[in-house]
């Protein structure tokens, strides 16, 4: 009989900002005194784990990001999540687990801005922070403070938007942690993400425009210092209004060279962003 294992997973949710795809950060942020809440629900399906022999894993996770503008060009973000995991081992037995993963707290500082037109802009920001232990067991928490730092570039021209992000995380412990999804330890991890956003509706903003639809296309990569490398392709759809946004994406493997964790077969995510 299938037994569900619930594993708490903390996915590094991107900061909730305008012109931002689901898994790639942007060099945008709420202004001082403005906050954005961004809950995301993800379903991820993993294949065989070469280290522990798990045959398959279904993960259901809810990740919430809370970002607030603290000063001009500065924002503070806290990400926290919970997950429920159903895994099947080599003997065909199922295991259910659930928990709360480590909490990510980081600052974003926009050090460059060049608004070249009514719509157009080029911006760059740095992000730096750390993940802090949730107090849960090794299935959910690395039980260590893991700092990370990165840089992100955003460019908007008319209907086109581009985001490029690179982020390095130093895992100071993480031994034995459930590393499905990658980057949770024990090896250090370099993430590199690219996103393209294209405004499909409206083709031109009008004087009364209050929302827009975008298609998004992301390439999400991760390299871990144990040699594991993965690249994923993530098409998506986003609606952005003046006070909220809705996003939907799917994620597929493009390249996998994994020897220490399970590989992703498929992911589907849906989320909203609320500004207040």
């Amino acid at each position: 009989m299938k037994t569900l294992s619930v594993v708490l997973l903390l996915a590094l949710a991107s900061a909730a900002s305008a012109q931002e795809a689901m898994y790639t950060a942007a060099a945008t942020m709420p202004s001082p005194g403005v906050s954005v809440v961004r809950p995301q629900f993800n379903y991820l399906k993993f294949g065989t784990n070469p280290e522990d022999g798990t045959q398959s894993t279904d993960r259901y996770q809810l990740v919430t990001s809370f970002q607030t503008g603290i000063a001009r060009a500065w924002s503070l973000t806290i990400d926290f999540g919970a997950a429920f995991e159903d895994s099947e081992n080599a003997a065909g037995n199922n295991h259910l687990d659930k928990g709360i993963e480590d909490i990510d707290l980081y600052l974003k500082y926009r050090f460059y801005k060049n608004d070249t037109g009514g719509i157009d802009t080029i911006r760059a920001a740095v992000m730096f922070g750390a993940e802090f232990p949730s107090g849960d067991d090794a299935d959910f928490s690395s039980d260590s403070v893991d700092p990370h730092a990165g840089v992100v570039l955003t460019m908007v021209r008319g209907r086109h938007g581009f985001n490029q992000e690179i982020d390095f995380r130093l895992n100071t412990n993480g031994a034995g942690v459930d590393n499905n999804g990658g980057g949770e330890g024990p090896s250090d991890a370099l993430r590199f993400n690219s996103a393209y956003l294209y405004r499909i509706i409206p083709d031109r903003f009008t004087s009364t425009s209050t929302g827009a639809w975008y298609i998004t296309a992301e390439m999400n990569g991760i390299y871990e210092t144990n040699g594991d490398t993965e690249l994923r392709w993530s098409p998506g759809l986003m609606y952005e209004g003046t006070e909220f946004a809705f996003e939907l994406m799917a994620q597929f493997p493009l390249y996998k060279d994994l020897h220490h964790r399970a590989e992703l077969d498929l992911a589907i995510g849906v989320g909203i962003r609320l500004t207040f």
Partner: protein, 152 residues
């Protein structure tokens, strides 16, 4: 067999999504009529700004009119409008804020009879919101010019 089937399905779905996106984007690019300029199709908005305009935008002298137009760069999305709304509404003397993304314009209604802010103060609020104030026009000001939309 189930899991290899799942991976095969995922790979096929991945290929379909890549192909569909490429077709969609190529279709969007090719939908531009042949007589449309690339800037029009790409929705590029360029404000006509002189050095005098830029100097006026930094003036610390209180605005006289009850209605003022701010020409702003970087307003790339609807959420941007929300950010600039909130910052400008906090400026003492500002009563209403209307954002027009089509030309990168923000129209402010100032409280009649109350002290009005200066262009510099409004510019600081625009910078706090994450954008750039390039020109200020008071209602009825001589020589007021709109943003120049690119030719279709």
């Amino acid at each position: 067999m189930f899991y290899s089937s799942a991976r095969t399905s995922a790979r096929f779905a991945s290929f379909l999504s890549v192909a569909a996106t490429a077709l969609l984007l190529s279709g969007c690019a090719s939908n531009r009529p042949s007589n449309m300029s690339p800037e029009y199709e790409e929705n590029v908005i360029n404000h006509t700004v002189s050095e005098a305009d830029m100097a006026a935008a930094k003036s610390k002298k209180a605005i006289e009119a009850d209605t003022i137009t701010l020409w702003v760069n970087g307003l790339g999305c609807p959420l941007c409008a929300s950010n600039i709304d909130r910052q400008l509404e906090r400026v003492p003397g500002v009563q209403t804020v209307a954002v027009d993304l089509s030309v990168g314009k923000v129209t402010l209604g100032l409280i009649g009879g109350a002290p009005h802010p200066s262009p510099w103060t409004l510019g600081e609020a625009v910078e706090d919101a994450g954008f750039t104030l390039v020109k200020v026009e008071q209602a009825g000001a001589a020589g007021a010019t709109p943003a120049v939309p690119p030719k279709p």
